[in-house]
Symmetry: C2
Subunit: 195 residues, 2 copies
């Protein structure tokens, strides 16, 4: 009987990304032997977050209301386009920079059967058209699909006469020239600046 | 508002062993974007396991009742002593071997302020004294503390005139002599067998 309950818990933990049987087993044992209050807190936080957090109807990021705090309170003229809601928190960590967001919920990726109609491009066009924006920063990932999506969006926005920018590509701060791949290096040379 | 709910969820996930902020964040995003049914299943499995699974009053292993299935149904004359409840499932994976268990819930470890009275030794003595056992296998971990605990238990059981054994130490199956540490190799040489 106890085996069944524990096996079910292990199976449930394997739903989390990157968690195989062994890790799930470790988590399950922690649940069984850990502090009751903390275990209940974890379960209620999971339920709570799943029930309360939906997607913002304007930007597509996480929100507990129909429209998220950022869309409601910020009056920025810069709109930053990202692939996933989690990318917002990465950009939010940058200090002294203020913008609103637009989450595409994916990128154009023919291999995964995702075309321009499967991501939130229509909504972006509508927002840029109707809103009072001065600049669109495209912050899709520096992958093949992310690059292609960025190019596609840039072309799409061209007729609207709005400044469209892309995050700079180059060497990461604190990294080592020796370990930088040649594609990154060639991008860094291409975009070199006078000092 | 949404940040608070998500941050609380990330904090709750960090209760799991080996989970830092970044991993907790990944798990939290999976909760927010994953299938609702699976998320609810995870939460209910956690609550369910925590509420139902207690420790068996006889062996100290996990149990959904006062006495676990193994203690209730098995009539083995071999008792296997392990440090933690999770060690039982490791030994259960061995086929064609049948025993009952005794979980110490730790081992003697002066550095962690754990003496002989802090682990379930009295209960072991009582069980061996009153039960009809023929052999005690000491399966504590092959660490310094586990070895010391094994020695201590062996001495403790000596007056009871029962066969006390320890799991063999040597080279792991499938490993490589080149990468075997010298302590293991010396144990393997010491315990060499004629073939």
């Amino acid at each position: 009987m106890e085996e069944k309950v524990i096996e079910k818990l292990i199976g449930a933990f394997m739903f989390l990304p990157g968690v195989g049987y062994k890790t799930a087993q470790r988590y399950a044992y922690k649940i069984l032997t850990g502090d009751e209050q903390e275990v209940k807190n974890l379960a209620s936080c999971i339920i709570d977050a799943k029930e309360k957090v939906k997607f913002c109807k304007v930007c597509g990021g996480f929100s507990t209301a129909d429209i998220c705090d950022k869309c409601k309170n910020r009056n920025s003229k810069i709109i930053c386009v990202v692939e996933e809601p989690k990318d917002i928190s990465s950009i939010e960590r940058v200090k002294n920079f203020d913008c609103v967001y637009h989450v595409l919920h994916g990128c154009i990726s023919p291999l995964n059967n995702k075309g321009p109609d499967d991501i939130r491009l229509k909504e972006l066009l509508l927002r840029v058209n109707e809103g009072d924006f001065e600049e669109v920063i495209i912050a899709t990932n520096p992958s093949v699909e992310g690059e292609a999506t960025a190019m596609y969006i840039a072309k799409l926005l061209k007729p609207l006469n709005i400044k469209v920018t892309r995050l700079a590509q180059g060497i990461s701060m604190g990294s080592d020239l020796e370990y930088t791949d040649e594609v990154t290096l060639s991008k860094a040379i291409e975009a070199r600046r006078e000092i």
